[in-house]
Amino acid sequence: MALFKRIRKIKAFDVFLVAGLTALALFMLLPIVFIINHAFKPQNELFLFPPTFFVKHPTLRSFELLFLHAGSDVVPFTRYLFNSVFVAGITLALVILFSAMAAYVLAKKSFPFKSLAMSLIMISLMFAPETVQIPRYLIISGLHANNTYFGHVLPYLASPVAVFLLIGFIAQIPNELIEAIKLDGASEGRIFTRLILPLSAPALATISIFTFQGVWTDVETSSLFMQDETMRTLAFYVNSLVSGLQNSVAGQNMAAAAGLLVFLPNLIMFLLFQRMVMATMVHSGVK
Protein backbone atom coordinates (compact mmCIF):
# COMPACT_ATOMS: atom_id res chain seq x y z
CA MET A 1 0.00 0.00 0.00
CA ALA A 2 2.80 2.35 0.90
CA LEU A 3 4.54 1.54 -2.35
CA PHE A 4 1.35 2.21 -4.26
CA LYS A 5 1.05 5.60 -2.63
CA ARG A 6 4.61 6.47 -3.47
CA ILE A 7 4.13 5.56 -7.11
CA ARG A 8 1.05 7.75 -7.31
CA LYS A 9 3.05 10.61 -5.91
CA ILE A 10 5.40 10.55 -8.91
CA LYS A 11 3.86 12.91 -11.39
CA ALA A 12 3.79 12.63 -15.14
CA PHE A 13 6.19 15.59 -15.32
CA ASP A 14 8.86 13.71 -13.41
CA VAL A 15 8.59 10.64 -15.62
CA PHE A 16 8.89 12.74 -18.75
CA LEU A 17 11.71 14.69 -17.21
CA VAL A 18 13.83 11.67 -16.33
CA ALA A 19 13.13 9.86 -19.60
CA GLY A 20 13.73 12.91 -21.77
CA LEU A 21 16.79 14.06 -19.93
CA THR A 22 18.33 10.60 -19.97
CA ALA A 23 17.80 10.37 -23.71
CA LEU A 24 19.33 13.82 -24.17
CA ALA A 25 22.28 13.02 -21.95
CA LEU A 26 22.99 9.83 -23.89
CA PHE A 27 22.74 11.76 -27.13
CA MET A 28 25.20 14.36 -25.84
CA LEU A 29 27.57 11.58 -24.88
CA LEU A 30 27.60 10.06 -28.38
CA PRO A 31 30.90 11.64 -29.45
CA ILE A 32 32.57 10.51 -26.23
CA VAL A 33 31.31 6.94 -26.59
CA PHE A 34 32.33 7.00 -30.22
CA ILE A 35 35.86 8.20 -29.60
CA ILE A 36 36.40 5.54 -26.95
CA ASN A 37 35.17 2.78 -29.23
CA HIS A 38 37.06 4.12 -32.20
CA ALA A 39 40.33 4.24 -30.30
CA PHE A 40 40.18 0.52 -29.59
CA LYS A 41 39.20 -0.57 -33.11
CA PRO A 42 41.66 -2.66 -35.10
CA GLN A 43 42.49 -1.30 -38.54
CA ASN A 44 40.15 -3.67 -40.45
CA GLU A 45 37.06 -2.61 -38.50
CA LEU A 46 37.48 0.96 -39.75
CA PHE A 47 36.73 -0.20 -43.28
CA LEU A 48 33.68 -2.31 -42.49
CA PHE A 49 30.50 -1.68 -44.37
CA PRO A 50 28.03 -0.92 -42.93
CA PRO A 51 30.12 1.21 -40.54
CA THR A 52 30.03 0.00 -36.97
CA PHE A 53 29.64 2.23 -33.96
CA PHE A 54 30.80 -0.16 -31.27
CA VAL A 55 34.10 -1.96 -31.35
CA LYS A 56 33.91 -5.73 -31.85
CA HIS A 57 37.44 -6.90 -31.19
CA PRO A 58 39.04 -4.26 -28.99
CA THR A 59 42.79 -3.89 -29.31
CA LEU A 60 45.45 -1.65 -27.85
CA ARG A 61 47.24 -1.53 -31.19
CA SER A 62 46.57 2.21 -31.77
CA PHE A 63 48.04 3.18 -28.41
CA GLU A 64 51.00 0.91 -29.02
CA LEU A 65 51.58 2.55 -32.39
CA LEU A 66 51.37 5.99 -30.81
CA PHE A 67 53.80 5.28 -28.02
CA LEU A 68 56.34 2.98 -29.60
CA HIS A 69 56.42 3.60 -33.27
CA ALA A 70 54.79 6.86 -34.32
CA GLY A 71 57.02 5.60 -37.10
CA SER A 72 58.41 8.04 -39.58
CA ASP A 73 57.95 11.10 -37.38
CA VAL A 74 61.08 12.86 -36.35
CA VAL A 75 59.76 13.67 -32.90
CA PRO A 76 58.66 10.75 -30.73
CA PHE A 77 55.19 10.82 -29.27
CA THR A 78 56.53 10.79 -25.74
CA ARG A 79 58.22 14.12 -26.35
CA TYR A 80 54.87 15.78 -27.13
CA LEU A 81 53.43 14.12 -24.07
CA PHE A 82 56.27 15.32 -21.86
CA ASN A 83 55.95 18.87 -23.19
CA SER A 84 52.24 18.88 -22.46
CA VAL A 85 52.60 17.53 -18.95
CA PHE A 86 55.47 19.86 -18.13
CA VAL A 87 53.79 22.96 -19.53
CA ALA A 88 50.45 22.15 -17.90
CA GLY A 89 52.09 21.52 -14.53
CA ILE A 90 54.10 24.74 -14.45
CA THR A 91 51.22 26.81 -15.79
CA LEU A 92 48.82 25.39 -13.25
CA ALA A 93 51.09 26.12 -10.29
CA LEU A 94 51.85 29.67 -11.41
CA VAL A 95 48.29 30.56 -12.41
CA ILE A 96 47.09 29.47 -8.98
CA LEU A 97 49.77 31.50 -7.22
CA PHE A 98 49.52 34.67 -9.33
CA SER A 99 45.73 34.71 -9.51
CA ALA A 100 45.22 33.98 -5.83
CA MET A 101 47.67 36.72 -4.79
CA ALA A 102 45.97 39.26 -7.01
CA ALA A 103 42.48 38.14 -6.06
CA TYR A 104 43.25 38.34 -2.34
CA VAL A 105 44.21 42.00 -2.38
CA LEU A 106 41.50 42.89 -4.89
CA ALA A 107 38.86 41.27 -2.71
CA LYS A 108 40.04 42.37 0.73
CA LYS A 109 42.15 45.54 0.47
CA SER A 110 41.57 49.05 -0.67
CA PHE A 111 44.38 50.90 -2.39
CA PRO A 112 44.88 53.61 -5.00
CA PHE A 113 43.94 52.51 -8.55
CA LYS A 114 41.96 49.54 -7.25
CA SER A 115 38.85 50.47 -9.20
CA LEU A 116 40.93 50.87 -12.34
CA ALA A 117 42.44 47.42 -11.91
CA MET A 118 39.01 45.93 -11.22
CA SER A 119 37.39 47.47 -14.27
CA LEU A 120 40.30 46.37 -16.47
CA ILE A 121 39.80 42.80 -15.28
CA MET A 122 36.03 42.99 -15.77
CA ILE A 123 36.42 44.26 -19.32
CA SER A 124 39.05 41.66 -20.14
CA LEU A 125 36.67 38.86 -19.18
CA MET A 126 35.36 39.33 -22.68
CA PHE A 127 38.85 39.18 -24.07
CA ALA A 128 39.70 36.43 -26.52
CA PRO A 129 43.41 35.94 -27.14
CA GLU A 130 42.59 34.88 -30.69
CA THR A 131 41.88 38.50 -31.55
CA VAL A 132 45.37 39.75 -30.76
CA GLN A 133 47.57 36.92 -31.98
CA ILE A 134 49.81 39.25 -33.93
CA PRO A 135 50.85 41.57 -31.07
CA ARG A 136 51.21 38.54 -28.82
CA TYR A 137 53.51 36.98 -31.34
CA LEU A 138 55.55 40.18 -31.49
CA ILE A 139 55.77 40.34 -27.69
CA ILE A 140 56.83 36.72 -27.40
CA SER A 141 59.51 37.30 -30.04
CA GLY A 142 60.55 40.49 -28.26
CA LEU A 143 61.04 38.51 -25.06
CA HIS A 144 62.96 35.86 -27.02
CA ALA A 145 60.52 33.30 -25.67
CA ASN A 146 60.07 31.53 -29.01
CA ASN A 147 60.86 27.85 -28.79
CA THR A 148 61.12 27.94 -25.00
CA TYR A 149 58.70 26.73 -22.37
CA PHE A 150 58.18 30.37 -21.36
CA GLY A 151 56.37 30.85 -24.65
CA HIS A 152 53.87 28.21 -23.63
CA VAL A 153 53.44 29.32 -20.04
CA LEU A 154 53.57 33.12 -19.97
CA PRO A 155 50.50 33.91 -22.11
CA TYR A 156 48.40 31.61 -19.94
CA LEU A 157 49.36 33.30 -16.68
CA ALA A 158 47.23 36.28 -17.62
CA SER A 159 43.91 34.69 -16.78
CA PRO A 160 41.26 37.27 -15.87
CA VAL A 161 38.60 34.59 -15.53
CA ALA A 162 40.62 32.84 -12.83
CA VAL A 163 41.15 36.08 -10.92
CA PHE A 164 37.50 36.94 -11.30
CA LEU A 165 36.29 33.59 -9.94
CA LEU A 166 38.72 33.83 -7.05
CA ILE A 167 37.67 37.38 -6.13
CA GLY A 168 34.07 36.21 -5.87
CA PHE A 169 35.09 33.36 -3.62
CA ILE A 170 37.62 35.14 -1.41
CA ALA A 171 35.26 38.08 -0.88
CA GLN A 172 32.96 35.87 1.19
CA ILE A 173 35.73 34.76 3.59
CA PRO A 174 34.79 36.62 6.80
CA ASN A 175 36.94 39.67 7.54
CA GLU A 176 36.89 38.74 11.23
CA LEU A 177 39.07 35.72 10.49
CA ILE A 178 41.66 37.93 8.83
CA GLU A 179 41.52 40.44 11.68
CA ALA A 180 41.91 37.67 14.25
CA ILE A 181 44.99 36.17 12.66
CA LYS A 182 46.40 39.69 12.19
CA LEU A 183 46.05 40.33 15.94
CA ASP A 184 48.21 37.27 16.49
CA GLY A 185 50.92 39.12 14.63
CA ALA A 186 50.71 37.40 11.27
CA SER A 187 52.28 39.14 8.27
CA GLU A 188 50.47 39.54 4.96
CA GLY A 189 52.42 36.63 3.52
CA ARG A 190 51.38 34.47 6.44
CA ILE A 191 47.74 35.51 6.17
CA PHE A 192 47.84 34.58 2.53
CA THR A 193 49.49 31.17 2.90
CA ARG A 194 47.87 30.10 6.18
CA LEU A 195 44.37 31.50 5.80
CA ILE A 196 43.43 32.57 2.29
CA LEU A 197 44.93 29.69 0.32
CA PRO A 198 43.47 26.87 2.47
CA LEU A 199 40.05 28.51 2.73
CA SER A 200 39.76 29.10 -0.99
CA ALA A 201 40.71 25.52 -1.88
CA PRO A 202 37.45 24.84 -3.76
CA ALA A 203 37.93 27.90 -5.93
CA LEU A 204 41.56 26.99 -6.53
CA ALA A 205 40.50 23.51 -7.61
CA THR A 206 38.00 25.06 -9.98
CA ILE A 207 40.43 27.39 -11.68
CA SER A 208 42.91 24.52 -11.91
CA ILE A 209 40.37 22.52 -13.86
CA PHE A 210 39.61 25.33 -16.27
CA THR A 211 43.22 26.34 -16.68
CA PHE A 212 44.27 22.75 -17.20
CA GLN A 213 41.59 22.27 -19.85
CA GLY A 214 42.69 25.43 -21.59
CA VAL A 215 46.39 24.60 -21.61
CA TRP A 216 46.02 20.90 -22.27
CA THR A 217 43.85 21.33 -25.37
CA ASP A 218 45.52 24.49 -26.67
CA VAL A 219 47.20 24.46 -30.06
CA GLU A 220 47.76 28.19 -30.43
CA THR A 221 51.01 28.57 -28.50
CA SER A 222 52.45 25.53 -30.27
CA SER A 223 51.58 26.66 -33.75
CA LEU A 224 52.37 30.35 -33.28
CA PHE A 225 55.32 30.57 -30.93
CA MET A 226 57.07 27.23 -31.49
CA GLN A 227 58.84 26.69 -34.77
CA ASP A 228 60.86 23.85 -33.31
CA GLU A 229 58.84 20.65 -33.58
CA THR A 230 60.38 19.23 -30.39
CA MET A 231 58.79 22.07 -28.37
CA ARG A 232 55.22 21.44 -29.48
CA THR A 233 52.53 19.83 -27.35
CA LEU A 234 50.27 16.79 -27.44
CA ALA A 235 47.20 18.74 -28.51
CA PHE A 236 49.14 20.13 -31.46
CA TYR A 237 50.23 16.63 -32.44
CA VAL A 238 46.67 15.33 -32.26
CA ASN A 239 45.54 18.28 -34.33
CA SER A 240 48.09 17.51 -37.01
CA LEU A 241 47.20 13.80 -36.95
CA VAL A 242 43.58 14.72 -37.57
CA SER A 243 44.18 17.32 -40.22
CA GLY A 244 45.40 14.64 -42.62
CA LEU A 245 42.30 12.55 -42.15
CA GLN A 246 39.64 14.38 -44.14
CA ASN A 247 39.95 12.00 -47.06
CA SER A 248 41.29 8.86 -45.49
CA VAL A 249 39.94 6.36 -43.03
CA ALA A 250 43.17 4.61 -42.12
CA GLY A 251 44.71 6.28 -39.09
CA GLN A 252 41.38 7.35 -37.66
CA ASN A 253 41.82 4.90 -34.81
CA MET A 254 45.22 6.34 -34.00
CA ALA A 255 43.83 9.88 -34.03
CA ALA A 256 40.98 8.72 -31.82
CA ALA A 257 43.43 7.15 -29.41
CA ALA A 258 45.45 10.36 -29.26
CA GLY A 259 42.24 12.37 -28.84
CA LEU A 260 41.29 10.12 -25.98
CA LEU A 261 44.64 10.81 -24.34
CA VAL A 262 43.85 14.53 -24.59
CA PHE A 263 40.41 14.02 -23.10
CA LEU A 264 41.11 11.60 -20.24
CA PRO A 265 43.20 13.84 -17.96
CA ASN A 266 40.51 16.53 -18.26
CA LEU A 267 37.89 14.01 -17.27
CA ILE A 268 39.86 12.75 -14.29
CA MET A 269 40.51 16.29 -13.03
CA PHE A 270 36.84 17.14 -13.31
CA LEU A 271 35.64 13.96 -11.60
CA LEU A 272 38.01 14.60 -8.72
CA PHE A 273 36.89 18.17 -8.20
CA GLN A 274 33.30 18.28 -9.46
CA ARG A 275 31.82 19.12 -6.05
CA MET A 276 34.30 21.91 -5.49
CA VAL A 277 33.52 23.38 -8.89
CA MET A 278 29.86 23.73 -8.04
CA ALA A 279 30.71 25.28 -4.66
CA THR A 280 32.82 27.89 -6.44
CA MET A 281 30.49 28.69 -9.28
CA VAL A 282 27.86 29.76 -6.75
CA HIS A 283 30.03 32.82 -6.13
CA SER A 284 30.78 33.39 -9.80
CA GLY A 285 28.15 36.02 -10.45
CA VAL A 286 28.97 39.30 -12.18
CA LYS A 287 27.48 41.90 -9.89
Binding site: M28, P50, F127, L245
Partner: protein, 325 residues
Protein backbone atom coordinates in the same frame (compact mmCIF):
# COMPACT_ATOMS: atom_id res chain seq x y z
CA UNK B 1 44.57 65.58 9.90
CA UNK B 2 41.56 67.86 9.53
CA UNK B 3 39.47 68.13 6.43
CA UNK B 4 40.03 70.87 3.83
CA UNK B 5 39.17 74.28 5.31
CA UNK B 6 36.92 76.62 3.39
CA UNK B 7 39.25 79.31 2.04
CA UNK B 8 38.28 82.84 0.93
CA UNK B 9 38.33 83.23 -2.84
CA UNK B 10 41.31 85.60 -2.99
CA UNK B 11 43.52 83.24 -1.01
CA UNK B 12 43.04 80.26 -3.31
CA UNK B 13 45.61 81.30 -5.87
CA UNK B 14 48.41 81.53 -3.36
CA UNK B 15 47.50 78.38 -1.55
CA UNK B 16 47.05 76.06 -4.52
CA UNK B 17 50.68 74.86 -4.97
CA UNK B 18 50.85 73.69 -1.39
CA UNK B 19 47.45 72.02 -1.71
CA UNK B 20 48.66 70.13 -4.74
CA UNK B 21 51.86 69.20 -2.95
CA UNK B 22 49.84 68.08 0.05
CA UNK B 23 47.67 65.96 -2.09
CA UNK B 24 50.65 64.44 -3.78
CA UNK B 25 52.22 63.73 -0.42
CA UNK B 26 49.04 62.12 0.88
CA UNK B 27 48.80 60.10 -2.30
CA UNK B 28 52.41 59.01 -1.97
CA UNK B 29 51.77 58.00 1.62
CA UNK B 30 48.74 55.93 0.61
CA UNK B 31 50.79 54.42 -2.13
CA UNK B 32 53.60 53.57 0.27
CA UNK B 33 51.31 52.08 2.86
CA UNK B 34 49.81 49.88 0.15
CA UNK B 35 53.21 48.65 -1.01
CA UNK B 36 52.67 45.08 0.16
CA UNK B 37 49.36 45.06 -1.64
CA UNK B 38 51.04 46.09 -4.87
CA UNK B 39 53.61 43.38 -4.34
CA UNK B 40 50.79 40.86 -4.25
CA UNK B 41 49.27 42.35 -7.35
CA UNK B 42 52.48 42.75 -9.31
CA UNK B 43 53.01 39.25 -10.81
CA UNK B 44 49.50 39.00 -12.20
CA UNK B 45 49.39 42.61 -13.35
CA UNK B 46 52.70 42.22 -15.19
CA UNK B 47 51.54 39.32 -17.34
CA UNK B 48 48.08 40.85 -17.59
CA UNK B 49 49.48 44.07 -19.02
CA UNK B 50 52.01 42.24 -21.17
CA UNK B 51 49.67 39.74 -22.81
CA UNK B 52 46.26 41.39 -22.71
CA UNK B 53 46.33 45.17 -22.30
CA UNK B 54 49.41 46.01 -24.35
CA UNK B 55 48.46 43.62 -27.21
CA UNK B 56 45.11 45.35 -27.54
CA UNK B 57 46.80 48.75 -27.85
CA UNK B 58 49.40 47.33 -30.21
CA UNK B 59 46.67 45.89 -32.39
CA UNK B 60 44.99 49.29 -32.44
CA UNK B 61 48.30 50.93 -33.41
CA UNK B 62 49.17 48.34 -36.08
CA UNK B 63 45.75 48.68 -37.63
CA UNK B 64 46.76 52.14 -38.84
CA UNK B 65 49.91 50.86 -40.50
CA UNK B 66 51.11 48.74 -43.34
CA UNK B 67 53.26 46.02 -41.81
CA UNK B 68 54.68 42.81 -43.23
CA UNK B 69 56.36 41.51 -40.09
CA UNK B 70 59.92 42.47 -41.14
CA UNK B 71 60.20 46.14 -42.12
CA UNK B 72 59.15 48.79 -39.62
CA UNK B 73 55.39 49.48 -39.76
CA UNK B 74 54.50 52.32 -42.12
CA UNK B 75 51.73 54.67 -41.08
CA UNK B 76 48.82 54.66 -43.54
CA UNK B 77 46.04 56.36 -41.59
CA UNK B 78 42.56 54.94 -41.98
CA UNK B 79 43.34 53.14 -45.24
CA UNK B 80 43.06 49.64 -43.77
CA UNK B 81 39.64 50.40 -42.38
CA UNK B 82 38.49 52.08 -45.57
CA UNK B 83 39.64 49.11 -47.63
CA UNK B 84 38.02 46.72 -45.17
CA UNK B 85 34.65 48.42 -45.29
CA UNK B 86 34.53 49.28 -48.96
CA UNK B 87 36.63 46.81 -50.94
CA UNK B 88 37.05 43.60 -49.02
CA UNK B 89 34.34 41.52 -50.65
CA UNK B 90 35.32 38.37 -48.79
CA UNK B 91 34.95 40.16 -45.45
CA UNK B 92 31.66 41.85 -46.28
CA UNK B 93 30.03 38.97 -48.12
CA UNK B 94 31.30 36.01 -46.14
CA UNK B 95 33.21 36.67 -42.92
CA UNK B 96 30.87 39.26 -41.42
CA UNK B 97 27.49 37.66 -42.20
CA UNK B 98 28.79 34.20 -41.36
CA UNK B 99 30.11 35.37 -38.02
CA UNK B 100 26.77 37.02 -37.25
CA UNK B 101 24.81 33.93 -38.22
CA UNK B 102 27.14 31.64 -36.31
CA UNK B 103 27.31 33.85 -33.23
CA UNK B 104 23.57 34.53 -33.14
CA UNK B 105 22.67 30.85 -33.21
CA UNK B 106 25.48 29.42 -31.12
CA UNK B 107 25.56 32.35 -28.67
CA UNK B 108 21.96 32.99 -27.58
CA UNK B 109 20.86 29.54 -28.79
CA UNK B 110 23.52 27.73 -26.82
CA UNK B 111 22.85 30.02 -23.90
CA UNK B 112 19.14 29.23 -23.88
CA UNK B 113 19.86 25.52 -24.18
CA UNK B 114 22.36 25.72 -21.32
CA UNK B 115 19.73 27.45 -19.18
CA UNK B 116 17.08 24.90 -20.12
CA UNK B 117 19.28 21.88 -19.47
CA UNK B 118 20.63 23.31 -16.23
CA UNK B 119 17.05 23.92 -15.08
CA UNK B 120 15.95 20.41 -16.05
CA UNK B 121 18.92 18.90 -14.25
CA UNK B 122 18.07 20.98 -11.22
CA UNK B 123 14.60 19.39 -11.11
CA UNK B 124 16.17 15.97 -10.58
CA UNK B 125 16.88 14.45 -7.16
CA UNK B 126 20.20 15.69 -5.81
CA UNK B 127 22.12 12.43 -5.99
CA UNK B 128 21.49 12.05 -9.75
CA UNK B 129 22.46 15.57 -10.75
CA UNK B 130 26.20 14.97 -10.94
CA UNK B 131 25.87 12.23 -13.55
CA UNK B 132 23.70 14.32 -15.83
CA UNK B 133 25.94 17.35 -15.38
CA UNK B 134 28.89 15.25 -16.42
CA UNK B 135 27.09 13.94 -19.51
CA UNK B 136 26.36 17.46 -20.77
CA UNK B 137 29.70 18.86 -19.76
CA UNK B 138 31.89 16.04 -21.10
CA UNK B 139 31.86 17.07 -24.80
CA UNK B 140 33.00 20.59 -23.98
CA UNK B 141 35.67 19.15 -21.73
CA UNK B 142 37.06 17.06 -24.58
CA UNK B 143 37.04 20.20 -26.69
CA UNK B 144 37.38 20.80 -30.38
CA UNK B 145 40.76 19.20 -30.92
CA UNK B 146 40.11 15.81 -29.34
CA UNK B 147 36.69 15.43 -30.90
CA UNK B 148 37.50 16.52 -34.45
CA UNK B 149 38.24 12.90 -35.42
CA UNK B 150 34.69 12.08 -34.33
CA UNK B 151 33.14 14.74 -36.51
CA UNK B 152 35.31 13.81 -39.46
CA UNK B 153 34.21 10.17 -39.21
CA UNK B 154 30.58 11.03 -38.58
CA UNK B 155 30.24 13.50 -41.44
CA UNK B 156 32.51 11.69 -43.85
CA UNK B 157 31.44 12.18 -47.46
CA UNK B 158 31.19 8.56 -48.62
CA UNK B 159 28.76 5.77 -47.81
CA UNK B 160 30.91 4.69 -44.86
CA UNK B 161 30.29 8.03 -43.14
CA UNK B 162 28.00 7.47 -40.17
CA UNK B 163 25.52 10.20 -40.98
CA UNK B 164 25.37 9.26 -44.66
CA UNK B 165 24.89 5.63 -43.79
CA UNK B 166 22.10 6.43 -41.36
CA UNK B 167 20.27 8.71 -43.77
CA UNK B 168 20.65 6.24 -46.65
CA UNK B 169 19.28 3.48 -44.48
CA UNK B 170 16.28 5.57 -43.53
CA UNK B 171 15.76 6.39 -47.19
CA UNK B 172 15.95 10.13 -46.55
CA UNK B 173 18.69 10.71 -49.11
CA UNK B 174 19.53 8.79 -52.28
CA UNK B 175 23.20 9.57 -52.62
CA UNK B 176 25.85 10.16 -50.00
CA UNK B 177 26.50 13.85 -49.42
CA UNK B 178 29.91 15.42 -48.95
CA UNK B 179 28.90 17.18 -45.75
CA UNK B 180 32.16 18.89 -44.92
CA UNK B 181 33.27 19.99 -48.38
CA UNK B 182 29.91 21.14 -49.66
CA UNK B 183 29.42 24.87 -49.00
CA UNK B 184 25.70 24.28 -48.51
CA UNK B 185 26.13 22.18 -45.37
CA UNK B 186 29.42 23.23 -43.81
CA UNK B 187 28.01 26.18 -41.86
CA UNK B 188 25.15 24.17 -40.37
CA UNK B 189 27.51 21.42 -39.29
CA UNK B 190 29.82 23.98 -37.71
CA UNK B 191 26.87 25.34 -35.73
CA UNK B 192 25.71 21.88 -34.69
CA UNK B 193 29.16 20.84 -33.55
CA UNK B 194 29.74 24.10 -31.68
CA UNK B 195 26.42 23.77 -29.87
CA UNK B 196 27.39 20.25 -28.92
CA UNK B 197 30.51 21.42 -27.15
CA UNK B 198 29.05 24.68 -25.81
CA UNK B 199 28.01 23.51 -22.33
CA UNK B 200 31.09 24.68 -20.49
CA UNK B 201 31.91 27.13 -17.69
CA UNK B 202 28.73 29.13 -18.22
CA UNK B 203 26.60 26.02 -17.98
CA UNK B 204 28.22 25.10 -14.65
CA UNK B 205 27.73 28.66 -13.40
CA UNK B 206 24.02 28.49 -14.19
CA UNK B 207 23.66 25.11 -12.49
CA UNK B 208 25.27 26.61 -9.41
CA UNK B 209 22.98 29.61 -9.72
CA UNK B 210 19.91 27.38 -9.55
CA UNK B 211 21.22 25.71 -6.42
CA UNK B 212 21.83 29.10 -4.92
CA UNK B 213 18.27 30.39 -5.16
CA UNK B 214 16.82 30.68 -1.70
CA UNK B 215 14.27 27.88 -1.28
CA UNK B 216 12.13 30.06 0.97
CA UNK B 217 11.49 32.34 -1.97
CA UNK B 218 9.67 29.52 -3.75
CA UNK B 219 7.44 28.95 -0.75
CA UNK B 220 6.74 32.64 -0.43
CA UNK B 221 5.95 32.69 -4.14
CA UNK B 222 3.46 29.85 -3.78
CA UNK B 223 1.65 31.78 -1.09
CA UNK B 224 1.63 34.84 -3.30
CA UNK B 225 -0.17 32.91 -6.01
CA UNK B 226 2.52 31.51 -8.29
CA UNK B 227 0.90 28.46 -9.84
CA UNK B 228 3.30 26.68 -12.16
CA UNK B 229 7.01 26.17 -12.72
CA UNK B 230 7.10 28.58 -15.63
CA UNK B 231 5.95 31.43 -13.44
CA UNK B 232 8.45 30.33 -10.83
CA UNK B 233 11.26 30.63 -13.36
CA UNK B 234 10.19 34.09 -14.46
CA UNK B 235 9.39 35.70 -11.14
CA UNK B 236 11.81 34.00 -8.78
CA UNK B 237 14.58 31.98 -10.42
CA UNK B 238 15.78 34.40 -13.08
CA UNK B 239 15.78 37.51 -10.86
CA UNK B 240 17.73 35.75 -8.14
CA UNK B 241 20.39 34.25 -10.39
CA UNK B 242 21.04 37.28 -12.59
CA UNK B 243 24.73 37.48 -11.59
CA UNK B 244 25.40 33.91 -12.72
CA UNK B 245 23.39 34.48 -15.88
CA UNK B 246 25.48 37.52 -16.71
CA UNK B 247 28.73 35.65 -16.15
CA UNK B 248 27.46 32.84 -18.32
CA UNK B 249 26.40 35.27 -21.04
CA UNK B 250 29.83 36.87 -21.04
CA UNK B 251 31.48 33.47 -21.36
CA UNK B 252 29.26 32.42 -24.24
CA UNK B 253 29.79 35.69 -26.12
CA UNK B 254 33.55 35.29 -25.88
CA UNK B 255 33.61 31.68 -27.00
CA UNK B 256 31.36 32.26 -30.00
CA UNK B 257 33.05 35.38 -31.30
CA UNK B 258 36.51 33.89 -31.02
CA UNK B 259 35.46 30.69 -32.76
CA UNK B 260 37.31 30.03 -35.97
CA UNK B 261 39.27 26.89 -35.33
CA UNK B 262 36.22 24.72 -35.81
CA UNK B 263 36.00 25.17 -39.59
CA UNK B 264 39.69 24.42 -39.95
CA UNK B 265 39.39 21.28 -37.85
CA UNK B 266 36.39 20.05 -39.85
CA UNK B 267 37.71 20.68 -43.34
CA UNK B 268 41.45 20.51 -42.77
CA UNK B 269 41.91 23.70 -44.77
CA UNK B 270 42.70 27.19 -43.45
CA UNK B 271 40.26 28.64 -46.00
CA UNK B 272 37.03 26.72 -46.36
CA UNK B 273 35.57 25.83 -49.81
CA UNK B 274 33.94 28.94 -51.32
CA UNK B 275 34.40 30.64 -47.95
CA UNK B 276 31.42 28.64 -46.68
CA UNK B 277 32.70 28.51 -43.10
CA UNK B 278 34.73 31.72 -43.17
CA UNK B 279 34.47 33.57 -39.84
CA UNK B 280 36.17 36.82 -38.85
CA UNK B 281 38.88 34.96 -36.96
CA UNK B 282 39.66 32.94 -40.10
CA UNK B 283 39.90 36.23 -41.99
CA UNK B 284 42.43 37.53 -39.47
CA UNK B 285 44.44 34.33 -39.76
CA UNK B 286 44.30 34.48 -43.54
CA UNK B 287 45.78 37.99 -43.73
CA UNK B 288 48.16 37.55 -40.80
CA UNK B 289 49.70 34.14 -41.35
CA UNK B 290 49.15 33.39 -45.03
CA UNK B 291 49.46 36.80 -46.69
CA UNK B 292 51.58 38.49 -44.00
CA UNK B 293 49.61 41.74 -44.22
CA UNK B 294 49.78 42.21 -40.48
CA UNK B 295 48.54 45.82 -40.47
CA UNK B 296 45.41 44.89 -42.35
CA UNK B 297 44.87 41.79 -40.23
CA UNK B 298 45.14 43.97 -37.13
CA UNK B 299 42.42 46.25 -38.46
CA UNK B 300 40.16 43.21 -38.89
CA UNK B 301 40.89 42.05 -35.35
CA UNK B 302 40.19 45.54 -33.96
CA UNK B 303 36.80 45.42 -35.65
CA UNK B 304 36.20 42.06 -33.96
CA UNK B 305 37.24 43.49 -30.59
CA UNK B 306 34.88 46.43 -31.00
CA UNK B 307 32.02 44.11 -31.96
CA UNK B 308 32.61 41.91 -28.92
CA UNK B 309 32.78 44.97 -26.67
CA UNK B 310 29.44 46.26 -27.98
CA UNK B 311 27.77 42.87 -27.59
CA UNK B 312 29.12 42.77 -24.06
CA UNK B 313 27.64 46.18 -23.19
CA UNK B 314 24.35 44.89 -24.48
CA UNK B 315 24.55 41.81 -22.26
CA UNK B 316 25.30 43.95 -19.20
CA UNK B 317 22.35 46.19 -20.05
CA UNK B 318 20.15 43.10 -20.30
CA UNK B 319 21.18 41.37 -17.11
CA UNK B 320 22.50 44.07 -14.81
CA UNK B 321 20.40 44.35 -11.65
CA UNK B 322 17.94 47.19 -12.08
CA UNK B 323 17.59 50.00 -9.57
CA UNK B 324 15.46 48.90 -6.67
CA UNK B 325 16.08 45.21 -7.26
Amino acid sequence: MTGPMPTPAHAVRNVRPSVVAGRLRRFAREFWSARVTYLFLAPFMTVFLLFIVIPVFMAAFLSFTSFDGFAFPKFVGFQNYIALLTQDIVFLRYALPHTFKFALIVGPGGYALAFLFAWLIHQLPKKWRDYYTLAFYAPSMAGGVALSVVWIAAFSGDRVGYLNHFLLQMGWIDLPRVWLQDPRYLMDIMILVSLWISFSVGFLAMLAGFQNVNAELYEAGRIDGIRNRLQEIFYITIPSMKPQMLFSAVMSIVTTLKAGGISVQLTGMPITPQYAGHLIVNHVDDYAFIRFQLGYASAVSVVLLVISYLVMRFAYRLFAPKEGD
